[in-house]
Assembly symmetry: C4
Homo-oligomer: 205 residues x 4
């Protein structure tokens, strides 16, 4: 368990995670389908009509992109890894790899007048919430097990984890919003990605 | 054949394997399909009705995730590589990349009343068994050719390989269980992934 | 914020980008479909008839390949990275990952007699233009923030960015050409990739 | 152009290539489709009936796997890289990424009684031949430009390139065999992969 091999282990964990993020973000495009046109129909209005799939694509791209940036910031601070961290990381990657599925379902039902739009929005929001919870668990785990260097007291650790979990609350709130308006939910997902872009983990200030 | 270049070779073998694992685990999502709804039908019950595809997704995600963790542990101990190890590793990756296919077929037939559910379960179990055999072959090969540092006697090597192959027996047993119940087979696949999560290769204790 | 960790950060940014480029360029093949033949029909003429999808495949492969080479040249000169660069890089990757979609739509409509061929060509050209703009923004950003080592004066920086943006103008012109001829647009996309292959960023001459 | 940065460049070229190989070899599985069964039909005979897709999968997996191993051996000897090598490498990757398409078409027509089976086999063989030519071009290029260390005379270089191109002849011959028997062609593709597994580039003996 020399420092050397532990650093190596972290780097392979990051490489694997990078791979999964890169693939998930690129697979999103497979859920985009060119409109099937009847004879003599125009392509342009048909494309505009399909705006929900582009909006959902953009939101999920932003979400996964920011998640990757934050994963990156997080793991730059982590100095050692262990089996527990590996499994928490896999738990996070589960929700990362799954995202193209609710994204596609969300896009398909976004304009439905029925409750289906709300259900699709809620499933999408739940996926994001679970990913945010996974991030919080990782942060709590690495602080508690001193896998990052820090000299925080136990209450300070708790405070740091709580601050880090703030975003999770917003995602959880999105599940509620889903039942009010699917379109507003998608907008919030996009705006939260922007928020997360500026929110950053810090052990020292 | 300096040590330097051999280490480099190992790292590229790991990078390639990481890529394949990362892609296979992410491609699983492409086998998930949102339910196609008739006019006026509800999304939520249709999603619940399709639980087999989510269960199969989760099982295969766990299987591939744990396989990656164990591949990682295994190769951290391997100090040099040669052509033989490369081909054994490719043999393992063959079953890794194939897994999305039986996963999807398993999900499709899980609720069939006919023998098709049993056949799909057996094909899935056979895939996992072959992957486990590949792991055992790699372990046996690297011990025999001293690609890991160890001072085990020949009988100790045999014992280590046998211990390592225990999981293989469980997977082989799954093929038998397939003909009793497809659903129990899927559950065992998931539980075995959890078992493998705690079972770890060690040359020294 | 030691030099060490900043270099590490650059390398993970490159690894993630490499992953996205590699996946996008490989996913293009999924948009190729073997012709569906009626009983007794010949495969060879059917394949020839589908030349637009192969032409579009080749053009997009060349575009993404050259983009990767230039991304590579660019980041070899970049010594440090920050959040701003990460997001500009994500903005670039957005257009990289999206490309398989307009490629497939372009191929489908290339031989249409209607305006749909022009619209598909214009969407394709817009995607390439936005990617070129992203490259220019990155170059401007890293020069301005001294993320590459250089001793250029402010006007020299402006001149370098302008020179670098020349290709962008050509891509923008492609949007105009789209409304004249879809086929010529595709040819230009391919030729511009060749042009970009020889155009190279340099801070020192 | 210090040695340091050139080594770095080689490693990013390898990382990108590894990514493309890993993705192409994993995407093959997307061309496998579970048989669609009519009510009351058996899964097992339907699977056996679809043996061509599994045979084609196995052959292409072996081909891409061995190509990766040889790419790996080749680039371990290459010490520096330049733009020319990058484009030759992209030319190779073009045929690597394309392979899932002819593989799928080959599998679909393998059992056809018509000439379509021969055409599909010839397209598949042509893809492999072009990949082999790309390998030979790379070997010739790096020897001529001293991107690998060697002290061969000009005729020795020519001899080494010729020896390296032997496999290419076999692949070219496969195009001819395609018009005799599609099934034999597939078998040869698989056997050639095995042959290539033992054929290895060497600058020194």
């Amino acid at each position: 368990m020399s420092n050397q091999s532990d650093l190596a282990e972290t780097s392979r964990l990051e490489a694997f995670s990078d791979g999964v993020f890169a693939i998930a973000i690129t697979l999103l495009v497979l859920e985009l389908h060119a409109p099937v046109l009847a004879e003599g129909r125009q392509l342009w209005p048909a494309l505009l009509h399909e705006w929900p799939q582009f909006a959902a694509y953009l939101a999920s791209f932003a979400v996964l992109g920011i998640m990757w940036v934050n994963h990156h910031s997080l793991f730059r601070q982590i100095e050692r890894t262990d089996r527990g961290l590996m499994f928490l990381n896999l738990f996070l990657l589960l929700w990362v790899t799954l995202l193209p599925f609710p994204t596609s379902m969300f896009a398909e039902h976004l304009k439905d007048e029925s409750t289906n739009a709300h259900v699709a929005a809620a499933v999408y929001s739940t996926n994001l919430t679970l990913a945010a919870i996974a991030f919080s668990l990782i942060w709590w785990y690495v602080l508690r097990n001193k896998l990052v260097e820090h000299e925080m007291s136990r209450p300070q650790v708790r405070a740091s984890v709580l601050r880090y979990s703030l975003g999770t609350l917003f995602y959880a709130a999105m599940i509620g919003v889903s039942f009010l308006s699917a379109k507003v939910t998608l907008l919030i997902a996009f705006l939260l990605a922007i928020y997360y872009a500026f929110e950053q983990v810090r052990t020292r200030d």
